[in-house]
């Protein structure tokens, strides 16, 4: 029997490279030892600081968006006959709910281009989508700071519209010839719940996420500090709102919620001053309750778990690699800080261009751009180039350029990539000046 070498080559390469690394790696070198430790410390910091309070609620929110938000309702703004003005606006912001799963971005892009509103809104969606999806915004704000998180979202939205309009202008003639094939808008599913109920439900989860993660401000006399002092009270209030919403509108039995609340209360009495444990018990309880429910709530859980299953390994891998190569903000990894600084330090135009080009061609698995960027910033990357990389990074990569090319052709792809690099550089440069 002969082996299928095409299929076997992948594991072979993996096994051979691991072997060669283990065989030859100079583990006695102190640089390598400290880099490995840096990588483990970084992973521990993530595990302690970010998983329970930030990632778990974020997965629940992402899961809720996938299940409870009527995505087909958004699609009507992408149709061939839709109002162009609205198309651009919706394309630039809808990624926040439509691009939670990275697998939706490219098919939607192809669909909008081919069957719907055309190259302009399609490009706008492709540029903004990965940057404004809820998980990306939450993680960027939490790890790289609220300021950069907001800059990323706003930069992506504004420049996506600019890129979309430019693409439309450049290729207006071809677009007119192509027009005609209407999009088969999927039939809008019936709304099961009024909008205001959904709003309360989502607001309660966002409230929990925001207040549980409220950082201690530098200025001790401000309103932010008052909020910090009462952050857990506020978190509990939002949790109660969520519980009421679940009982009233999601068919969760009230006695289950009351039992969970009692368990959390007892845990809190037994371990005062450790809110992270109480929060973990709450999240675990909510998982058990929703998973055992029949109907929507279990769908919510299974979507959330699906995101966790998909994203956690990638993030873990990203953190380990970032830690190994770049170290923690306080330490050094394998790549010397001076190198990083000489390429992307400060806010020169050259540093911004370099960051944009790097971001455009490099492939970042879902959300791994965040730990990698954290490492680069720790090594002296300026905040302008950081934003440039955040904007160009997830929007395009070498592998997805090939897919995009198969949809819109070589010429448009090249123009799009050049525009992405140009706009990312420009936004980074402007942002870096402040």
């Amino acid at each position: 029997m002969s082996l299928d070498w095409k299929k076997e080559s992948k594991p072979l390469i993996v096994i051979a490279s691991v072997f060669l690394i283990l065989y030859f790696a100079p583990f006695e070198s102190s640089r390598i030892r400290s880099s490995v430790m840096e990588s483990l410390y970084l992973a521990q910091w993530y595990a302690r600081e970010h998983v329970i309070l930030c990632l778990i609620p974020a997965f629940f929110i992402a899961g809720a968006i996938a299940v409870f938000i009527n995505q087909s309702a958004v699609i009507k703004y992408f149709g061939a006959k839709a109002n162009k003005f609205l198309s651009y606006g919706v394309a630039s912001v809808s990624g926040s709910i439509l691009a939670v799963c990275s697998c939706t971005v490219l098919p939607l892009f192809a669909g909008i281009y081919r069957m719907g509103a055309g190259i302009g809104p399609a490009s706008a969606f492709l540029y903004a989508g990965p940057a404004v999806n809820v998980l990306a915004v939450i993680l960027t704000a939490r790890i790289l700071g609220v300021e950069l998180g907001i800059a990323r979202a706003i930069g992506a939205i504004i420049f996506s519209i600019v890129i979309g309009l430019l693409m439309q202008i450049f290729f207006n003639k071809e677009e007119k010839e192509k027009a005609g094939s209407g999009m088969a808008v999927p039939g809008a599913e019936e709304e099961t719940r009024p909008l205001w109920q959904n709003l309360i439900y989502f607001a309660s989860m966002v409230g929990i996420l925001v207040f549980a993660n409220w950082g201690k401000p530098d200025d001790s006399a401000s309103l932010w500090n008052v909020i910090y002092d009462y952050k857990w009270h506020l978190t509990v209030i939002f949790a109660i709102v969520l519980d009421i919403a679940l009982i009233l509108w999601f068919g969760i039995k009230w006695w289950k919620i009351v039992t969970l609340a009692a368990i959390i209360y007892i845990t809190a009495e037994l371990s005062p001053g450790l809110p992270i444990i109480h929060f973990a018990v709450g999240a675990l309880g909510l998982s058990v309750i929703t998973a055992s429910n029949k109907g929507e709530a279990s769908e919510w859980f299974s979507e959330s778990w699906g995101f966790a299953k998909q994203i956690m390994p990638l993030l873990f891998f990203g953190v380990i690699v970032a830690g190994l190569l770049l170290g923690r903000p306080s330490g050094d990894g394998l790549i010397p800080s001076e190198w990083v600084y000489s390429f992307v330090g400060g806010n020169s135009l050259r540093a911004n261009i370099f960051a944009s080009v790097l971001g455009a061609f490099m492939y970042f698995a879902t959300l791994t751009e965040v730990p990698i960027l954290q490492g680069l910033i720790g090594n002296g990357m300026g905040k302008g180039p950081a934003l440039a990389l955040l904007l160009a990074g997830p929007a395009v990569s070498l592998p997805n350029m090939l897919v995009i090319r198969s949809v819109i052709g070589t010429k448009k792809t090249v123009v799009f990539v050049v525009l992405v690099i140009f706009m990312a550089t420009l936004s980074g440069w402007i942002y870096g000046m402040f």
């Binding site: 995505q71 087909s72 699609i75 799963c101 990275s102 697998c103 939706t104 490219l106 098919p107 939607l108 192809a110 669909g111 909008i112 081919r114 069957m115 999009m183 088969a184 999927p186 299974s302 979507e303 699906g306 299953k309 998909q310 897919v403 198969s406 949809v407």
Partner: protein
């Protein structure tokens, strides 16, 4: 019968493929199962949200990840026709 799972190789799409495989083997029926990863082919079915399932060139759903049980009843419906 011919089943096609549409999706560009993401986790949810792989999951749907596995569930469909399971549904088919549990039902014990003869059918061809194909995984379509090419974006252009995917959009040719008018699909915007992946994963999606096509049975005998007819789009059954898109942007969803139904359970094995639901998939089984979808396939059975088609068998009865």
């Amino acid at each position: 019968m011919k089943l096609k799972v549409l999706g560009p190789g993401c986790a949810r799409c792989r999951e749907l493929f596995e569930r469909t495989q399971k549904a088919v083997s549990e039902l014990g029926i003869e059918c061809e199962l194909e995984k379509v990863e090419d974006i252009n082919q995917i959009t040719s079915y008018g699909v915007l949200f992946t994963p999606a399932l096509v049975i005998d060139e007819q789009l059954k759903f898109s942007g969803k990840l139904p359970s094995v049980e639901e998939l089984k009843s979808l396939i059975q419906e088609k068998v009865k026709e």
